[in-house]
Symmetry: C2
Subunit: 129 residues, 2 copies
DNA sequence: TTCGGTGTACTATATGACCAATACACATGG
DNA sequence: CCATGTGTATTGGTCATATAGTACACCGAA
């Protein structure tokens, strides 16, 4: 459960959290039934406000990714993994479509575009190992 | 000079404008010396607030893309085209790196990722013609 | 039972983006 | 000259995000 929050990235912090937790469930980093970090613990870990974490957890509950075990914590729902895998594809496709769309509309050569994409992929893989 | 603004896209409206105007200069849709639409005209055209247009124009002046001919309008600076072409590449690469980075970190297969990218490119080209 | 950790709820405050309205200085065309 | 259209500046308001602080109900272990 390693999250990285980037403020000033346009995307609200609570939304970044929602995405990353969904991705973690999709990858099996947290399995159904397992507890996620507590509101206060995760807030302390990321040095953000507990209310912000709470907001992310609240949305994940409304999407039936997490369920509340009051007094104990929040657990990953049973059927959540399949849905998170599906969600991951949708969420990433959505952003990709936006960015690629902007590039094409801007008039950039398709060759240049593919070149930039390949460079981005290599950089992402390299920085992640 | 055809712009499309999407509110609630995370990116502020004035920043969307700055990018699209830079792209237009890079493409030669507006050539150096030519006047861009007036603050009020563009605001009316996009049904946004004149202050928002003003803010975009102000930033473009600080980057020496536009110059103010007070009482007449705003013109594209002489050396601006080359800089805009360079800026376009940087701006698009930056966003691409972010999105691709998120996809890779999320654990998505590289094959799936390339698949999504190809689909996004085809869709962008198709919707643009 | 008691205590600490859990989720949850509520109010208040600060910041940034954006809208709304107004006012002023300048240039152009009648 | 003067009316119109420019850019520019200022003030105030709304909304979403995020922070800060407090309070309550619940569970489990000591």
């Amino acid at each position: 459960m390693q999250f990285s929050i980037e403020p000033n990235n346009g995307m609200p912090i609570y939304e970044q959290l929602v995405r990353q937790i969904k991705f973690a469930v999709a990858e099996g980093v947290v399995v159904p039934g397992q507890l996620v970090p507590s509101v206060r613990e995760l807030a302390r870990q990321l040095t953000i406000n507990p209310n912000t974490v709470q907001r992310a957890y609240q949305q994940l509950q409304s999407e039936e990714i997490l369920e509340s075990l009051r007094g104990r914590g929040l657990a990953v729902c049973i059927g959540a993994k399949r849905r998170c895998i599906s969600d991951r594809q949708s969420l990433l496709a959505e952003r990709l479509t936006e960015v690629v769309g902007e590039a094409v509309r801007s008039g950039l050569d398709h060759d240049r575009l593919r070149e930039l994409i390949e460079k981005a992929i290599k950089q992402a893989i390299r920085s992640g190992e």
